[in-house]
């Protein structure tokens, strides 16, 4: 359980709308199914929901505008 697993989970949170919605509803439930350590789960559960929504929106907007070009 390395930082690479955390980076992968973050990349999924930014790109998978369904996963993000479930995480925002119940972070502990989503994280319990991930191959992460207790410390990693606790740090990820503490993500500020507003910041996650805004970051994911911003990344999504960039993905869409890049595809259009």
């Amino acid at each position: 359980m390395s930082t690479a697993d955390v980076e992968t989970f973050l990349a999924r949170l930014y790109t998978d709308e369904d996963l993000r919605a479930r995480f925002l509803r119940s972070p502990d439930e989503v994280l319990s199914r991930e191959p992460l350590s207790a410390q990693q789960r606790s740090a990820l559960a503490a993500i500020d929901p507003s910041e996650l929504i805004l970051a994911a929106d911003s990344h999504g907007h960039k993905r869409t505008s890049r595809r259009r070009r």
Partner: protein
């Protein structure tokens, strides 16, 4: 030997091609998004023509060097081929990861700032420098989310990497401003924590305030490159020029909502004025220092 002069340029956008080429005598260099030229040899060769008119700097956005995961060598191979075609002045990338576990984020994301990403980033920079035959200058990113699992503050984390990899810093002043605004930090004090001896290049851009989706009393500064450079960024640039021992290359970025080219020229002039005032204060301090010693 005379110090190298500060330089001023623009990010290259087709919308400004005519304006840039008509005013090439006022523009010291242009910055090119390398990723737009990696997959088509004929498009890449157009850069050779441009580089005969003006010095160019390549700016990469999709390598994802700041990660505990290894950078993909096929992307570095493509970049090395672009170097062969257009011989750029320099190249830069970001303190960001852009993919992990097969998931493409499609944009610059802040990784956890910890020992694993410090080690991974240093390895990635060394590999990139070996394949491209030149080390990148690395840029601080704007992030709307504080990266979890971080054991370092932003600037301490970057400082470790820059020192270990012996890299220059591309200091994006609007990114610095946005992160300070969103974390409640003072941008002037944060600027003084930047490793100033590493700063080679400076980005200026604009952004806008956005509402918090859950809390009406909170707002966030988005770095969107769609707005003019705000006054506070010119103030930060002036302070940087006062503090920085190095010649600076200042680039104004614009990704959309393009104003008339005259507006971009005005912003370039404001950047020149800000650097000139900072350099004048720096010179004044240096002149005063020996006198103080005699007091």
């Amino acid at each position: 030997m005379a110090a190298a002069p500060d330089r001023f340029g623009l990010s290259w956008r087709p919308e400004y091609a005519a304006g840039i080429l008509c005013h090439a005598d006022e523009i010291d260099l242009v910055e090119i998004i390398a990723d737009n030229f990696l997959n088509d040899a004929s498009v890449a060769r157009s850069l050779r023509t441009l580089s005969a008119q003006l010095p160019i700097s390549l700016h990469s956005v999709s390598l994802g060097l700041a990660s505990s995961l290894p950078v993909e060598t096929r992307r570095l191979d493509k970049l090395a081929r672009l170097f062969d075609i257009c011989t750029p002045d320099s190249w830069s990338e970001h303190f960001a990861f852009v993919r992990a576990g097969g998931h493409e984020i499609g944009h610059l994301a802040a990784p956890p700032r910890n020992d694993e990403t410090i080690d991974g980033t240093i390895k990635n920079i060394h590999l990139a420098a070996r394949i491209v035959a030149r080390a990148p200058v690395l840029e601080n990113i704007a992030t709307l989310i504080r990266p979890p699992l971080s054991t370092y503050g932003e600037w301490r984390w970057m400082d470790h990497i820059l020192n270990a990899a012996s890299c220059g810093l591309l200091l994006d002043l609007h990114n610095l401003l946005a992160n300070c605004a969103n974390c409640g930090d003072d941008p002037g004090q944060t600027l003084r924590r930047v490793p100033l001896d590493r700063v080679q290049t400076v980005h200026l851009s604009g952004g806008k305030w956005i509402k918090d989706p859950r809390n009406p009393d909170r707002r966030h500064l988005l770095d969107d490159h769609l707005h003019d450079v705000p006054d506070i960024v010119y103030d930060l640039l002036s302070t940087l020029a006062e503090l920085s021992p190095n010649p600076l290359t200042v680039i104004i970025e614009r990704d959309g909502n393009f104003p008339a080219f005259e507006i971009m020229r005005d912003q370039l002039q404001r950047a020149r004025d800000a650097v000139a005032s900072g350099r004048a204060r720096r010179l004044q301090h240096h002149r005063q220092e020996p006198q103080l010693e005699h007091c």
